[in-house]
């Protein structure tokens, strides 16, 4: 069980802790600033907060004392001359480009236990970066950046393409699988030296029929891997929910998921790859909860059936959406925390059967993450 979690919001980083009976906000760091990504590194307890300042760009801060003190460290910087595809010339049809500059750190994940200090950063506009020194320095993973397929990526959710999910295989930290909106699912088996575009079975409803099964344009909103059974993975996709039992190579779409299969977030139980949670919305063109009632959907049989969980969640005039990084499960699999686009924050201690409200009046919540203990400890 984990007794602490963090919420990155439009107006600061909130520390939330469990007391004897209830959860409560204990303090706020970076008050007034957008904390759009965070990482609690279970390998050494270091906390990272990525700020996306409206005027002055992305800043990464690191704390080794649970937020008592913070140090600004480096951020990923796109190399001179780097460009991303911004569209096509109307007359010639040729790909148009714009200079690449860091918009946002959209994923921040630790390397394996055998890679102390390693951090992977997925960014907008589409670069994957690696730090081997706790964020002191960063290098663009050029083997991915230089793939010609990258010029076929496009924005999904954001104006420019972005890497939002980085899954480091607990069995082999050289094996990393990433999700890109919109650029499909990619994996490396040599810690980023080479990459393969994978994801057979994903379907893109927003493309013309002949392109719907193309791997390079899939919009996985979030990719999640079971820690104890890493071949089992889940995707909350732009137009559906997909499962994989072979480490993201092949995917099967879940049909007739109640009340909707549209959403952003997915979390997988750390000890049971058959169990996963989702937070549905109506559809992409109507991003609100179905019937204005916030629910969480849970499968415990690898997608054969889904339960709709609503006990403790707002069921009247609710317009909260849970973004892709705002649903997290703790080390036990019993506790989940969830934050919304309109500042709702909830926690469950029974796998989603019942939820408690921590606040309904926080700033917009971008990301939620438990302070997890080292696996096995």
């Amino acid at each position: 069980m984990n007794d602490r979690f963090f919420a990155g919001t439009r107006k600061g980083l909130f520390h939330v802790e469990r007391g004897d009976r209830e959860w409560a906000i204990k303090k706020v760091d970076f008050l007034g600033d957008p904390v759009t990504m965070l990482l609690h590194d279970s390998r050494d307890g270091t906390l990272y907060a990525s700020l996306t300042l409206g005027h002055f760009g992305v800043k990464l801060h690191r704390s080794k004392d649970n937020g008592e003190t913070w140090t600004e460290v480096a951020v990923p910087v796109y190399p001179e001359g780097a460009v991303y595809a911004s569209g096509q010339d109307e007359e010639t049809g040729e790909t148009e480009t714009k200079p690449a500059s860091l918009d946002e750190i959209w994923a921040l994940e630790p390397g394996g236990p055998d890679q102390p200090g390693w951090l992977w950063a997925g960014t907008i506009p589409g670069g994957l970066f690696l730090s081997k020194d706790h964020g002191e320095t960063w290098e663009l993973v050029e083997s991915l950046w230089n793939r010609e397929e990258r010029m076929g990526w496009f924005g999904g959710g954001k104006d420019r393409p972005g890497i939002h999910s980085v899954c480091v295989d607990p069995r082999d930290s050289q094996h990393v699988t990433i999700g890109i909106s919109c650029g499909g699912v990619w994996e490396t088996r040599d810690a980023g030296a080479s990459w393969e575009l994978i994801g057979e079975g994903l379907r893109a409803e927003y493309m013309p029929p002949n392109l719907q099964n193309s791997l390079n344009i899939q919009d996985a909103h979030r990719l999640s891997q079971c820690l104890s059974d890493p071949d089992k993975m889940w995707i909350q996709h732009h137009n559906g929910i997909f499962r994989s039992s072979n480490g993201a190579k092949n995917w099967t779409e879940m049909e007739n998921v109640p009340p909707s299969s549209f959403g952003f977030a997915v979390s997988v139980h750390p000890h049971d790859g058959n169990t996963a949670w989702f937070v549905p919305g109506v559809k992409d063109e109507c991003r609100i909860p179905v019937d204005n009632q916030l629910v969480v959907t849970r499968t415990r049989d690898f997608g054969e059936s889904f339960e709709v969980l609503r006990n403790g969640l707002p069921q009247d005039h609710c317009y909260d959406i849970v973004f892709r990084h705002s649903l997290d499960v703790d080390s036990s699999g019993d506790r989940l925390a969830m934050g919304s686009s309109t500042g709702g924050l909830w926690v469950t201690e029974d796998g989603g059967d019942s939820w408690s409200t921590i606040s309904n009046t926080l700033p917009q919540i971008y990301c939620v993450q438990f302070a997890k203990s080292q696996p096995g400890s």
Partner: protein
């Protein structure tokens, strides 16, 4: 010597006192500032060296025109102000 001053908004994030610099263009003036204070560069310029979208710079009360190459001329007695644009708020 031209003087470069910074918006108080920046001072929330890092120390950036006014500095006297030399140079004949904004880019040259900034180069000196960033040598003194390397962390400041990423707050003012993007990865490709252009002014950030929501940063605005005035030289002697005129808005800087060349936001990419920073070639606007600077005189020996110029006052350079680095401000936040209201568009980024």
């Amino acid at each position: 010597m031209p003087i470069v001053s910074f918006t108080p908004h920046l001072k929330r994030h890092l120390e950036c006192p006014p500095e006297e610099v030399s140079g004949e263009t904004l880019g040259e003036a900034f180069h000196q500032i960033f040598e003194l204070n390397p962390q400041l560069r990423g707050y003012v310029l993007d990865d490709q060296g252009a002014l950030r979208q929501h940063v605005v710079v005035f030289i002697d009360d005129a808005v800087v025109r060349d936001r990419k190459r920073l070639s606007d001329p600077v005189n020996s007695d110029s006052e350079i102000f680095v401000m936040q644009a209201l568009s980024g708020g």
